[in-house]
């Protein structure tokens, strides 16, 4: 049952990701990305990381994609882009991707990586452990992340405001 669900959700994630990349229209890309993120959240559930699955749906499928759609519609970019691939870029990227996939494909031959099945109660299942770790061992990264969010917020405000100021200056 779990195996079938794994194949279902990984196929969903990968197919949606391919459609994100191939789609000509940026809005369609963003909507397929929601699908990809939902498939990813389902894979997190299969890995018993329930909290991360919820966070994935809330933050990525909720906030990030809404931000993307907002910007796409704000900029009103018509027709996506022209299908002009530089042949050299295409060849190089396909070679690099093939190398990556070959390297990972070799994992399947490696018997030492066929790990034993994981401990039965999943570690990500307990929200209490999550909070305890965040406020003990990872307290400093937690604080730094909060500070980073503050900096990002200020940065976004400055980035959005500066153009208005620069425009007003020559007129004044």
């Amino acid at each position: 049952m779990t195996d079938a669900l794994f194949y279902l959700f990984s196929t969903l994630t990968l197919a949606a990701a391919v459609l994100v990349v191939v789609n000509r229209n940026a809005v369609n890309s963003a909507v397929f990305m929601i699908l990809s993120f939902l498939g990813m959240a389902s894979l997190f559930v299969l890995l018993e990381a329930y909290f991360l699955a919820v966070i994935q749906v809330l933050v990525y499928a909720g906030a990030v994609i809404v931000l993307f759609l907002f910007i796409i519609m704000l900029l009103d970019v018509r027709g996506g882009d022209r299908a002009r691939f530089r042949p050299l870029t295409a060849i190089a990227s396909f070679a690099a991707g093939a190398l990556l996939l070959t390297g990972v494909g070799l994992l399947f031959r490696e018997p030492s990586l066929q790990l034993a099945p994981p401990p039965s109660p999943g570690v990500g299942a307990s929200l209490r452990d999550f909070g305890a770790l965040l406020f003990t061992r990872y307290l400093l990264p937690m604080q730094v992340t909060g500070f980073l969010l503050l900096i990002a917020m200020i940065g976004v405000i400055v980035l959005s405001k500066r153009f208005e100021a620069a425009r007003r200056d020559p007129a004044a």
Binding site: F6, L14, V64, L67, I71, G80, S93, L100, V123, L159
Partner: protein, 114 residues
């Protein structure tokens, strides 16, 4: 659920393990990689970048699950937080760029060329 003997001969169709998750993460990373290199719309490039970040996230969660520790999950929590901040800043930069140059196609954003 007993595995069929004919299927267990193929390594891919064995019981789902860490390798399968890593393979999915690698394929997702490769797809995002193609998107970053082949597309010309800055917003789609940015979305492909997010796909690559998600692939790394999936690998971290899988390693954490099969290692039996929480640390990978906590790392992924931080990664998601940083990614949200990064998306906000990046999209603000794209908007500022669009106001300045009136395009989001990377082919036309060549002010630093030569």
């Amino acid at each position: 659920m007993p595995a069929l003997p004919c299927l267990s001969a193929l390594p891919f169709l064995a019981a789902i393990g860490l390798n399968h998750y890593i393979a999915v993460a690698a394929m997702l990373f490769a797809i995002g990689f193609f998107g970053v290199l082949l597309r010309q719309n800055t917003l789609v490039i940015y979305m492909s970048l997010e796909l690559m970040l998600n692939a790394a996230t999936l690998a971290a969660v899988a390693f954490s699950r099969y290692n039996g520790t929480m640390d990978g999950n906590v790392f992924v929590f931080f990664i998601i937080t940083v990614a949200a901040a990064e998306v906000a800043v990046g999209l603000a930069i794209v908007v500022a760029l669009f106001r300045k140059r009136h395009t989001v196609q990377v082919e036309e954003l060549d002010a630093l060329k030569n």
